[in-house]
Amino acid sequence: MELQLQHLCKQYGSKCAVDNISVNLVPGVYGLLGANGAGKTTLMRMICGVLKPTSGSIRLNGKSMQELGEQYYTHLGYMPQDFGFYPDFTAREFMLYMAAVKGLGSKEARRKTEKLLDMVNLHDVADKKIKSYSGGMKQRLGIAQAELNDPSILILDEPTAGLDPKERVRFRNIISGFAKKKIVILSTHIVSDVSYIADTILMMKQGRFLLQEPMSTVTDGICGKVWEVLVNERDAAKYSRRFCVVNLHHENNRVRLRIVDETAPSADAYTVEPSLEDLFLYHFGEEVQNERGENDENAG
């Protein structure tokens, strides 16, 4: 199983949402990271055939999506970002409906529905209308429908958005359970979600892949560049302006700063083990800060 994205582009007017992306994907879990607007969702929609690329091609085992036609979609399981449900359907009805859309026979549809509802812990509430479900229950139903046809390509766009930490852990475990022998592309901007389950990290910025690395070596590039330093509160602001501060922790009257930089920010700074979050913030610190600023303004 090989999914090839070849020179994939998506242009909206003068804005290039996805810019000449080429990658060969083989079974494994891919964590697609990027700030909001990086092009993750656009890329996933193109892979799922619900958005036409401006140029480039998507090939599965050497055959283009157009050549494969309906056959392409039999390999696909998709859980879009913020995807809605039919509030007046029960979970069981929704699953049976989706099974029919995915081309499963009625017997197989019933069997898979019961199995998956059980796996995502919704069996007891399967006959309740979806409108009565919590956010977490809806997300679990979302992943269950994506698994109905036992897809070899599973695309999950921000599947943990809006979930509390407990639900997120639960969700991660469900995905891990489904991931065997599949190409799983998991998009998120919650770094800890992918750090546990991804084999490969794909980092996107302004429509391009900034980085394609195995999880085990992804932070190698910033090894020796992540520092911690204990400063007084007055100096903390200065450091924040001058350096990429990825974490800030108050300890009595002092502040422990975690900084990513080529050189030591001060003489008493010492290097620490880099994490995926350090890497993410190293690349997207500015965007994340802008987003936070916008959120604060909106909240204000």
């Binding site: 929609r45 619900v50 036409k52 309906e70 998709y78 995807f83 007046d88 359907f89 409906y97 995915k102």
Partner: protein, 411 residues
């Protein structure tokens, strides 16, 4: 597979609260509009006015005496009878412009069959002129009434009226159609059918209700954010679209049929089905269509069903192309209701011929008018053109709706 998809798509439409509310309101409105003629029905006898169901029963009873074939002999005798009544000055009233019968003579000899007498009297005057039984005094029936000759002469006048602007081919078409009318005409009670004919336009509200309920079939997926997940399914761009179209058609036809049953059922229950097999010409001798009341009703209903199908097609196309169902209705409502305010100025000319084909006008049978369309040597009457037009529109719009959803880009 398709059965399952159609079932769930049908359920999606049916389970929406808005569907139930719109359908309930529309059914109540239809029942009210079609029930109104029953409540408002009134007839008179010497003792005064008789309203509603009693009035209908009284009218039916009066017709028992006149449910006869309208032979020349019968009409001659009838005209002579009326002329005889006018010979006695005691029977006659005068309102300054015309004479009419009064007192017991009117109530006993005219009132029970006044509709028939008016029909006979109008057969002998020029098209567009409305006269009553009292004009029979001017008729010379010494050589018989020659009722059907007079009918043919009147039809010729209609066909040769310069304002009708009929071509030779169109005249021939209508003459040929008229020649198929069986004579002598059988007369009888047909009140229920006549009222159905005047109420057909009220079905526009049922059509609107169907359009409202199916408006979200495609754009509802965009609004709910379910478009991405269904379009990425194996049958999302193929069988599912067919299932959506089939379920919309099934829902539309079922919902509309319930309205038809309620509307026509109420009227026929009150007025009776009597007259179903009588010819349309007993409501107006120049009506060209050689049909009985039930045939004409079914044909016009068939046309309305085709209008409905085309409007379902248009609604689905707009639904596939637009972001939400409100935008769909912003287009559909004017298409349905603006023609209500446009009145035809005649039966010819591009404007009038276009107006008669619009959805609102297409619910009205216009069976008394000689409206025809000519394309080269081919002449077709209004009902046929409507049927063909809306069938063709349905055949075009449904595939376009299908393509619209198939090509939809999730963004």
């Amino acid at each position: 597979m398709m059965k399952t998809l159609v079932k769930y798509e049908f359920l999606k439409i049916l389970r929406k609260k808005s569907t139930l509310i719109v359908m309930a309101v529309s059914l109540l409105l239809t029942a009210f509009l079609f029930g109104l003629p029953i409540l408002q029905y009134q007839t008179y006898n010497a003792d005064g006015v008789i309203k509603g169901i009693d009035g209908i029963a009284y009218t039916k009873e009066q017709y028992l005496q006149i449910s006869v074939p309208l032979t020349d002999e019968y009409i001659t005798e009838t005209i002579r009878e009326v002329q005889g009544l006018f010979e006695n000055p005691d029977n006659i009233g005068f309102d300054g412009t015309e004479k009419f019968l009064i007192g017991d003579t009117y109530w006993n000899d005219i009132a029970p069959r006044e509709t028939l007498l008016n029909l006979i009297a109008r057969n002998y005057v020029k098209p567009g002129i409305y006269v009553g039984y009292n004009s029979m005094t001017d008729l010379d029936v010494t050589n018989g009434a020659n009722f059907y000759e007079a009918r043919n002469a009147k039809i010729e006048m209609v066909l040769n009226d310069p304002s009708c602007e009929l071509s030779a081919a169109q005249k021939e078409y209508w003459q040929n159609m008229n020649s198929k009318v069986d004579i002598p005409l059988q007369y009888g009670y047909y009140e229920g059918w006549e009222i159905i004919f005047t109420c057909f336009e009220h079905f526009m509200f049922a059509i609107l209700a169907v359009c409202i309920t199916i408006a979200p079939v495609f754009c509802g997926e965009y609004q709910a954010g379910t478009d991405a997940v269904i379009l990425s399914g194996k049958y999302g761009k193929t069988k599912l679209i067919t299932a959506k179209i089939l379920s919309s058609l099934a829902f539309g036809l079922l919902a509309f049929t319930i309205h038809v049953v309620v509307a026509c059922g109420a009227l026929l229950a009150a007025f009776g089905v009597d007259g179903w097999n009588l010819p349309l010409q007993i409501a107006g001798t120049t009506v060209p269509y050689p049909l009985t009341f039930i045939q004409a009703t079914l044909i016009n209903l068939g046309v309305i069903y085709l209008v409905l199908l085309a409007l379902i097609g248009l609604t689905l196309l707009l639904s596939a192309k637009m972001k939400n169902s409100y935008l769909v209705m912003v287009v559909i409502v004017p298409i349905l209701f603006i023609p209500m305010f446009l009145t035809p100025s005649g039966t010819t000319g591009a404007y009038n011929l276009f107006l008669f084909l619009l959805p609102y006008r297409s619910t009205m049978p216009e069976i008394g008018n000689y409206i025809s369309y000519q394309l080269g040597g081919l002449v077709l009457d209004l009902l046929s053109v409507r049927a063909i037009l809306y069938a063709v529109l349905t055949a075009i719009l449904l595939p376009l709706a299908r393509l619209g959803f198939k090509k939809h880009q999730v963004s």
